[in-house]
Amino acid sequence: MARTGFSITRLPGFGAIAIATFLMLYIPILTLVVFSFNAQASMSQWGGFSLQWYEAAYNNRQVRDVSIRSLWLAVVASGIATAVATLAALGTTRTSRFPGQTMIYALINQPLMVPEIVTGVALLIFFAAIKVQTGYTGMGYLVAAHTAFCIPFAYLPIKARLETMDLTLERAAADLYATSFQAFRHITLPLLMPGILAGFMLGFVISLDTVVITEFVKSAGQDTLPTYMLGQLRRQVTPEMNAIATLFLLLSLCAVTVFFLLSRKRA
């Protein structure tokens, strides 16, 4: 390295700002985790170690219901979104450039650009009209909304992987008598798998986490874990919330870790 060159790490206060940022990021979360083990029903006073809030959360029927609903929704929505995103990624990387391709990127990535609250309101109005017309009030609305929202997150890692993949492999397969479907099935798909799994994990975490859209789209009795927690916090706050949030955090961390391991893996 050039000894005389400009280095951001040697600006005055660099270390202090970095440490302050990390403290601000992690102290609230650490506090939340620590107080989930509090023996008292207080969010500010430590009364000894206990697992009682975890027990309470476990025995709470509602918590179990919304957790299962959240997981189910995340798996289904992310699954559909991943399948759609895979096709979209193939369509935008394995064809020669066509007019309007940039437009297509914008359309696929729409949820990244439109504010969530706008999408939420739009879906509320749109789905309300459909509900009146059809009388259907099931989980379909949530699945549709979450799927659309997850697509760009699943799309990005899949597209990234397709773009780094050696095109001559598919050509070699065709040269060795594979039809285009066989080439996809035996060559492209297995090599794309880490990207697809990463896309799924990312979509899964996003769906698990989203509050705004769910809040607007859900019918009665369709609370997910985040909307349930939000509803509870409006009433009374006990460390049971901390326990639920800690478990939620753990789940998200696992999913994100899997995502990192998969996206780092190179064929």
Binding site: A174, D175, A178, T179
Partner: protein, 381 residues
């Protein structure tokens, strides 16, 4: 060759039996234009070729001359802009690469990284729907042929570059294609491995009897390995012939210059007969010269002749040509002597270094040049 096991050419696996034994690949006025309008680029310009069954055929030419493009047209990765292309007597226009009885060895090998060596080799046969036992025995045979039996279960990422090269060869040969296309397959290997693989390729071709179409821009590789060579430049084929023909009787200035070291002399054409021509050298000597293929130039005109350095030797001042030594460069077994002829043109000859030959002439000394019989080759102008 067991024709029943040959991969399909189009819909009908037996359609190729009508082919003449001569033309395994027949290419007629084939052109390929990339792009359109102002940016259009003619990568191949009216190429005609007939490649014979079982021969080792080489496409030789400088970078960008269209060798890869021609190979990709034969393999079916690109479609020609115009012209005809027949493989085994069957017109293949419009057929995809998976419907042509042709396999390719890619320059970067393109081995499937998620499959074992054995699965890579068996891939083509599996795609052709062959029975498991047949795939296995063919794979085992190919592994033996390229001497890779011990590494059958490794992944491509776990073997060396030279070994990957062998696997790529075995994979392309396993379905017993009519024609094997090789695009500069040795260019990524170091010199020693390269020499090894050159003889390995010749051995594989002899053992399988498959027609090889080999691309290189290395003239030495082309000369030592090929049955016939086509020299290409700027999308055209300039000359096709055996290595001896191409080397000793280049028809074209580019061909003569591209292959081996060459001396060009501007001479006067005295007379043209069926057996050959007579020309007058700058020094005044009249000598016979070989005529190029095609229409001969008219007598009396000024033409160019080619003289290979090894066909000339230093003589006393009474040789066919005379000049002054500029410098001598020592190359181990021989010395290259650079001369300036009396008419101002430069000339290089090779002199064997032996005890009997004595020391190389000093710069500035006047020497004569004697030419071997048949050393003069007239160029097509």
């Amino acid at each position: 060759m067991p024709d029943a096991s040959a991969p399909p050419a189009g819909n009908d696996a037996t359609a190729h039996s009508v082919s003449s034994p001569e033309g395994e690949i027949e290419i007629g006025r084939l052109s390929k234009v990339f792009g359109a309008g102002a940016t259009a680029f003619r990568a191949l310009d009216g190429v005609s070729l007939a490649i014979r069954r079982g021969e080792f055929f080489t496409l030789l030419g400088p970078s960008g001359c269209g060798k890869t493009t021609l190979l990709r047209l034969i393999a079916g990765f690109e479609q020609p802009s115009s012209g005809t292309l027949r493989i085994g007597g069957q017109e293949v226009a419009g057929l995809g690469p998976n419907r042509r009885p042709v396999n390719t060895v890619f320059q970067n090998y393109a081995l499937f990284p998620h499959m074992s060596v054995a699965d890579n080799i068996g891939f083509g046969l599996r795609m052709l729907g062959r029975r498991r036992a047949e795939v296995q025995s063919a794979t085992a045979e190919m592994l033996r042929l390229v001497r890779m039996e011990e590494l059958a279960d490794r992944r491509p990422g776990e073997i060396s570059g030279g070994q990957q090269q062998r696997v790529a060869l075995a994979r392309a040969l396993a379905p017993r294609p009519r024609v094997l296309l090789l695009d500069e397959p040795l260019s990524a290997l170091d010199l020693k491995l390269r020499k090894e693989m050159q003889s390995e390729l010749k051995r594989l071709q002899a053992e399988t009897g498959i027609t090889f179409v080999f691309v290189t821009h290395d003239q030495e590789e082309a000369l030592t390995m090929s049955d016939r060579i086509a020299v290409m430049n700027a999308g055209r084929i300039l000359q096709t012939g055996s290595p001896e023909e191409i080397y000793n009787h280049p028809a074209d200035r580019f061909v003569a210059d591209f292959i081996g070291d060459t001396n060009f002399l501007e001479v006067e054409l005295l007379e043209v007969a069926a057996a050959g021509a007579r020309i007058r050298l700058p020094g005044g000597a009249a000598l016979p010269a070989n005529l190029p293929a095609g229409p001969a130039p008219a007598a009396g005109s000024c033409v160019t002749v080619v003289i290979r350095p090894e066909h000339a030797r230093l003589a006393d001042a009474d040789g066919a040509l005379a000049g002054t030594v500029e410098r001598s460069v020592f190359f181990g077994t021989d010395t290259h002597v650079h001369l300036r002829l009396d008419d101002g043109s430069s000339f290089t000859l090779r002199r064997q270094n032996s005890a009997a030959a004595g020391p190389a002439p000093d710069p500035g000394s006047r020497v004569g040049i004697a030419l071997a019989e048949g050393a003069l080759q007239l160029l097509r102008n």
